[in-house]
Symmetry: C2
Subunit: 207 residues, 2 copies
């Protein structure tokens, strides 16, 4: 058992609802599916970062950071795939959870609100991932738990980068950003704490 993992305080404060205990219990019994979905999530996180790169290519700081972020997510993808190989978990197609899609559906379509919303949603997804890694790591077999512990720091850093860019790239007032963030936090909290028919890394309370 990996011991002593804690949800970083900044992350716990950021999220409107903690992950329900029922999700954790479910995840401990469904490790192969969790890993499979986790691998997909890393790939999607890399694609999302690259989406910023393409759409806002003229913003050098953002482009450089998102490229680095995509590289880190891809590295995590490879690490999860390696662990799956070691654990003899075959790769299967898995439908995406409702989580990221529902959050993206909430993003506005006009700039600069689109950029702001996509960055805040990025921060939320990284923060939630960080929280779940911290919560589940101590309950997993040691090697997997240690790996998840190691991911914590990256996810926390990615969270900070997304928040930093939301503040620096959108030319909107702190109050406006804060108000929108509160709305998105509520949507996110409902998705992870409300009943969910499907088990995934970012799913809600098992039904």
């Amino acid at each position: 058992m990996a011991i002593g993992t804690q949800v970083p305080e900044a992350i716990a404060r950021f999220l409107h609802e903690p992950t329900p205990e029922e999700w954790l219990a479910e995840a401990c019994g469904r490790v192969p599916e969790m890993l499979l979905d986790h691998a997909n999530c890393e790939l999607k996180a890399a694609s999302t970062a690259m989406g910023f790169l393409y759409r806002y290519a003229d913003r050098t700081m953002l482009a450089q950071r998102m490229s680095k972020l995509a590289r880190e997510e891809l590295r995590h993808f490879e690490q999860v795939r390696s662990i799956m190989e070691e654990m003899a978990i075959p790769f299967e197609r898995l439908s995406a959870s409702r989580y990221a899609g529902s959050l993206r559906d909430a993003a506005r379509t006009q700039e600069p609100y689109k950029l702001l919303d996509m960055l805040l949603i990025g921060a939320l997804i990284e923060a939630r991932s960080c929280e779940r890694f911290a919560l589940i790591a101590p309950r997993l077999p040691e090697k997997l738990g240690s790996f998840y512990n190691g991911l914590l720091a990256s996810e926390a850093r990615h969270f900070e980068h997304y928040i930093g860019f939301a503040q620096s790239e959108c030319a909107l007032s702190a109050a406006e950003i804060e108000a929108r963030l509160a709305e998105l936090k509520d949507i996110e909290a409902k998705l992870v704490s409300g009943p969910d028919p499907e088990f995934r890394f970012h799913s809600g309370k098992p039904m």
Copy 2:
């Protein structure tokens, strides 16, 4: 001037036509555009590698390698962007050259021919990039020339990976692969040696 760059023999033998001298002369006079297009090419190369990852996610070896390859291309993207910053070259939108699109249009749509063609096209693009880096490096300012020299080795490795996967992943005979490769080499050679109204990293003979 960076001295002593040579096109690796395996690359020179692989390509049906060498880059025309006219393209080299043009490129030396249009370094900012070349760098801008080069940055875009690295990004597209990363996206292409990730496309394999999504489409053939159940092939672990291919997935792991393509993920690493995407990371390398993204790293190169960041390096090109840094050099552009240093040289005070502003980022601008640039239309894609006809090169990669025309090659992709030649890919068949049925499996396993689609996978084969996409891998062979990947090998061709890497080989051509490698050849052009080698040819232009000695004519560029030292720092940029050294950077291009450094990219040579990566591109040559990527070329080998693409060829290796074409041989191992498609369950087609060596003769069939060779015949198809010869066809694609001809298409590629025409694109880089035929007249081209637009200057890009992979463009043809300037008109």
